[in-house]
């Protein structure tokens, strides 16, 4: 009897822990609700450096000319699977002379082109097509990767939309474009370990030619001075909204549940096995 009592506080503790986990996380999820910034951008950038910032879930529109290269940038955190979508509305009033091929490319914060796991990334618009829809789903972003791998990392991502093939005569005709980036949590199966020192954010400040000696003086004394200096003069292009739970994707993953459940099942199985083998006589005696 005394043994059985000894077990109960332990399970109670586990239960309380489970309840705490269960109670804590939905609150975080509530705080995370909301869809992007209030104002949707109505312009698109024309280079990496002038890319328009769009939050996750925000639709950005732009009017442009056929042949323009249009850029947007959006944040993606670790553990998210991002999808970039674009719809090009081709004017029916303009006399188009043939089919055109539109393409949507996604680049990471280091301007490395990323593969699409889904999508039509490249679509051919027939001469009389009214609109073209493109989309590109990225591989799930990892919190960390080897420096020599091209795996997607948390930070800014660029969406580039352009026409890649067209009859020369159709260059410069007006189009309107809608772009959108969404991200889904990929769940525990994609919860990887590790963390980057900083997300990959696009640099926008004009460069400062560093004399070797000057820089040694700055960074040479302590490692911290260089860090502080970088933080003071933020060299980054635009304020990319940080995803909820931070760039690293936060601490929560369903792996906690799986592992806890494993521990609990192990403990229960241990208890069961113990009772089974010890036999009914021992209990009566106690």
């Amino acid at each position: 009897m005394s043994r059985a009592r000894g077990v109960r506080p332990f399970t109670a503790l586990l239960l309380a822990g489970g309840a705490l986990l269960a109670g804590g996380v939905p609150a975080a999820a509530d705080a995370g609700e909301g869809d992007g910034t209030g104002d949707a951008p109505t312009e698109a950038g024309t280079t990496f450096r002038t890319a328009t910032v769009i939050g996750q879930g925000t639709s950005a529109t732009a009017s442009a000319s056929t042949g323009d290269y249009l850029y947007w940038t959006f944040p993606v955190a670790a553990g998210q699977t991002a999808t970039a979508e674009a719809t090009v509305t081709l004017p029916d009033t303009a006399p188009r002379s043939g089919p055109a091929t539109w393409q949507l490319d996604v680049y990471d914060g280091l301007r490395r082109r990323q593969p699409c796991t889904e999508g039509p990334q490249t679509v051919r618009a027939e001469q009389d097509a009214a609109s073209v829809s493109l989309s590109c789903t990225l591989p799930t972003v990892r919190p960390w990767a080897e420096p020599w791998s091209d795996a997607p990392l948390p930070g800014g991502y660029y969406l580039r939309l352009t026409v890649t093939e067209l009859p020369e005569r159709d260059l410069g005709l007006p189009v309107t474009v809608e772009a959108r980036a969404t991200a889904e949590e990929a769940g525990g199966s994609a919860a990887y370990g590790g963390a980057l020192a900083d997300p990959l954010l696009p640099v926008g400040a004009a460069g400062v030619l560093a004399g070797d000696t000057a820089d040694t003086g700055d960074t040479g004394d302590t490692g911290d001075t260089a860090e502080d200096g970088a933080a003071d003069t933020d060299p980054y292009l635009a304020a990319l909204p940080e995803p909820d739970g931070g760039w690293g994707g936060g601490w929560w993953t369903d792996r906690w549940l799986w592992t806890t459940a494993g521990g609990v099942l192990g403990a229960l199985a241990g208890l069961g096995g113990f009772r089974l083998v010890r036999g009914p006589r021992a209990r009566r005696e106690a």
């Binding site: 910034t37 260059l171 993953t253 369903d254 113990f274 089974l276």
Partner: protein, 434 residues
Amino acid sequence: MILRKWTAVGLSGLFVALAAGLLTTSAVADEPAQDAPPPRVDLVLDVSGSMAERDMRDGRSRMAAAQQAFEEVIDAVPDEVHLGIRTLGATYPGDDIEIGCQDSEQLYPVGPVDRTEAKTAVATLRPTGWTPIGLALRGADQDLGDGDGTRRIVLITDGEDSCGQPDPCDVARELAASGTHLVVDTLGLTLDDAVREQLSCIAEATGGTYTAVQDTDQLSDRLKQLVRRADQPVENPTAVQGAPGCQDAPSLGVGVYTDRQEFGEHRWYRVPVAPGQELRATVSVAADRAVNPDHGVLLRAVDEGGQELVRGTGAGTGRTDVVSTGLRLPVPEDEDDTGDGDTGDAGDAGDEVRIICLDVGSSFSAPDAVQRTPGLPVELTVDVVGGPDDPSDVAAFGLARGWVPLVLLTGTGLLAGLLLGLFVRLGVVMGRSS
């Protein structure tokens, strides 16, 4: 009883997992406030004789459309933008090519806009003379003046250059290469093939855009958009000239740089990085002229001994504005130093800044007829972030997931329970027997 409680907890856990999975993210953007030099835009309007033609979709003449669009733009121009107007072919109606091709003048100087004055100036224009586009571009570049801040020219014309020399496309490329960050956007008021070719060539050479205009509304909307675009707070990159080898290469700090690179040329740069920091570099090589469809770029980080540390590659095919790639290189803390940093020597060595050499190469090629100089524009960004990265376990926090670890843990628990029970039972039996 206990089991039932646990299913309840398991269910709530599942609920939690679902909730976490559906977690959406919100965005809070905060604009950086900074004092920048005023953005400058020069509108260059063709006032040649052909502008009198009435072929806009709304039945107006090209000139009338342009004049109305200019009025709207002058009304809409943001206060901080300095706007100027230059004309070409506005004064000389004669046939002498010598005089006609020198006909480009500043109608309104680049500066804060007096809306009435500017509108009056535009209203007086009548279609008159020749189309010296190259000359007008040079003039507009001078109108904009030097210095930091955005510099844009918007060229509105209905005809190709009627003067031949200088070739406007070469002029545009030369101006863009002069390190003044000039962008030329072009608007063609006709769908003529030669005009389109020339204007898109000018736009491509400077990283601008080409638009074929067919009615007044489209013209004024596009003009307003281009003027607004100049108002974006974008810093101009620092011009730098990479060396053919790492030894004499310029040393770069954090920021954006531009350079020019000829076909097949390699350019080297040096970046000092302290141990424990991470170097991040990106490079974009722009195709500012007609190039062959297959292209690539290679960025290598090499140590001073010539050993390659990491590389980034980018390649593409077809029509493109840039081909780009990037790399990241965490420079680890010196192991020896942190291990046994008693000696003064080792301490110094650990703090020593390492020089990382960046080698930029691209594999653009072009038909023989294409000009080779100036080289292709290269944009290089360098970032050095503090703190080395943290590789950790492959799984998040080393946690397990899936049925196999569940079964394994249960099995282990069961085995442990059985063994413990067995020992207790044996102990009881032995205790009783003794």
